[in-house]
């Protein structure tokens, strides 16, 4: 009997607490709402170079919006995110994309360059001049002169962990479930590169400090715009 009284009291204490910790104590912010995302995409630590989790803070909003829809709709695959996004609307994803895009986290320190001078030379040529023979445009033609992306749909190439970069190219090149379910300009380019080039790029990009602003869409040539039209049309995206 005593035990029962205790339980009852306990329940009353419990509900009194419930009143105290009212809805008002939970911040009515997007930051609070997307806490589940922060555990993987959160602080500097996680966005650090060793982690597989990509940084999403500060990336162009249109790009984030496209990726969130890709994960939800099965065009890009990562189980943890597919489950979280399963029952979200486009409107909410758009809001979440703008939120992360507006965050300014510090970037990880650049890594040391362990490539040989020849390898470095080859990578830099690919990035800034491309290879017309294989119909590979310069990376900078789309990702901006400073490689910090082109608003609002093309992401920066800097500040990404090596393991993540390697996995993305793997996904595009082998198709499969990771990325590139539907062909687009980036997966077409990735398929034309050699594995050696991919390895070198994934090593070289994290050695670059992140400086400079993202480029504007007007800086893209009409030919490149056309090549990426499925991505740049960004159906449903609102600035």
């Amino acid at each position: 009997m005593k035990f029962i009284v205790f339980i009852l009291l306990w329940a009353i204490v419990g509900s009194a607490n419930a009143l105290e910790l009212g809805a008002s104590e939970i911040p009515d912010t997007l930051e609070q709402r997307v806490k589940p995302c922060i555990i993987c995409h959160g602080d500097e630590d996680r966005a650090g170079r060793d982690a597989y989790y990509p940084r999403i803070a500060g990336k162009p909003a249109g790009y984030l919006f496209n990726q969130l829809r890709n994960f939800r709709d099965g065009r890009r695959y990562y189980q943890a995110m597919a489950i979280l996004l399963e029952n979200m609307s486009d409107d909410y994803l758009l809001e979440i994309a703008h939120y992360f895009s507006s965050l300014k986290y510090p970037y990880p320190q650049p890594t040391a360059n362990t490539l040989s001078p020849d390898e470095t030379q080859a990578v830099e040529t690919l990035i800034h001049s491309g290879d017309p023979d294989r119909d590979i445009p310069a990376c900078s033609a789309c990702h901006g002169k400073a490689l910090t992306g082109t608003k609002p749909f093309i992401p920066s190439l800097l500040g990404l962990p090596h393991a993540y970069l390697a996995a993305q190219f793997g996904g595009w090149r082998n198709g499969g479930i990771m990325r590139g379910q539907t062909p687009d300009c980036m997966s077409e380019i990735a398929k034309k590169m050699t594995q050696k080039e991919v390895n070198a790029l994934a090593m070289w990009l994290p050695t670059q400090p992140v400086t400079g602003e993202p480029a504007e869409m007007e800086e893209l040539t009409p030919e490149l715009m056309q090549r990426c039209h499925t991505i740049l049309s960004g159906e449903g995206f609102i600035q």
Partner: protein, 425 residues
Amino acid sequence: MKLSNKFKFTGRRQTIIFAASLLLPLSVVAANQFPAPDAEQVKRGEYLSRAANCMGCHTTRGGEPYAGGRTLKTPFGEFVTPNITPDNETGIGRWSGEDFWQALHFGKGRDGSYLYPVFPYTEYTKVTREDADAIFAYLRSLKPVAQTNPPHKINPPYDNQFLLFLWRTWYFKEGVHEPDNSKSEEWNRGNYLVQGLGHCNACHTPRNVWGATQDSKLAGGEIMGTYWYAPSLISPLEAGVGEWSIDEIVKLLSTGINKHAVTSGPMATVVRQSLQYLSPEDIRAMAVYLQSIGEKRSRNEALKKIPPMPERVSKYLALGKPVYEKHCQGCHGESGEGVPGIYPPLAGNRNVTMTSPHNTIRSVLYGGFPPVTAGNPRPYGMPPFQHIIRDNEIAWVVSYIRNTWGNLGSLVSPEEVDSSRGNEF
């Protein structure tokens, strides 16, 4: 179990074959005439298809609505939903209203073959002819999509039409909803929506080894191939809502969250795809019906079930306390009280204390957001913990929340945590 079930059938084989030969001529119906489309009927059909969530199954993730292609995994094999847009070659463009009625009401394909009960015609059989015609009119108004979907991969022996026929004879009861005149019109409407169009039984009823929903309707069941347990809509210890107010039931069904509970996993998807679009009158009718079938707990029963706790148990539970304080308390509160409409309470939450700990383990492993609905357009989320804490810590914390603040449930082992893994994604 499986075998003995099979043997039960052999004795009836003769009669069944006889019955089959009688039924065969029925499937040769061909009246390819379409009445002029009626805008009002099409609109009603659209609404009814929402209530029946035809699109949910007949659309693959990110694919063309109603063009099919979604894979449904079951212990009997993998079923791929067909294209039901009015495309002549790959969809149901050549179907007549009668063909459609045969499918929805009797579970028969256009060629007379039997359809698998993964297609919940076992519940849709209660849908009236008038509603079926409206749904058909709506489907015919859609843009035809030419899309050929891969064939089913059905495990033998279930790929045998004869077995399917036996199954039907045994378990399938055809019949349109009959109103119960001793009940209100609202109750009857709710009954029709829950038992017919809404096909709640397809998940919320235990299935036997043959995949048939068993007699104890809405009594709760492990959903085939999805790793989720759909709780009983009758038992007050599970998801029976006999003790909730109509308003709270309405709120859960139409927004996905109320002060007692939150919908997750497949139920969140049902709310997003279907229930949130129902009219306030229809949702209310469902609530009235669900409330009436939900059993109530007697006061004594509620109290007497908490026994004193043996020391070994309290020691095991104590392991979960620090995990809870570190990882969960920030959202679910010091006493598991949650925040109404934002974070579900864990104290007194039947999803947490239910006999099957599956759903709770899955919530902790995978996290989730309640569905986005007009009534809850910007939900707050729960992180997945499978990347953050180990299986034994998950077992401790789940055991802890199942047995604290007046909750009472079985303890959970790390093995049970591991066996709750798996996904349709």
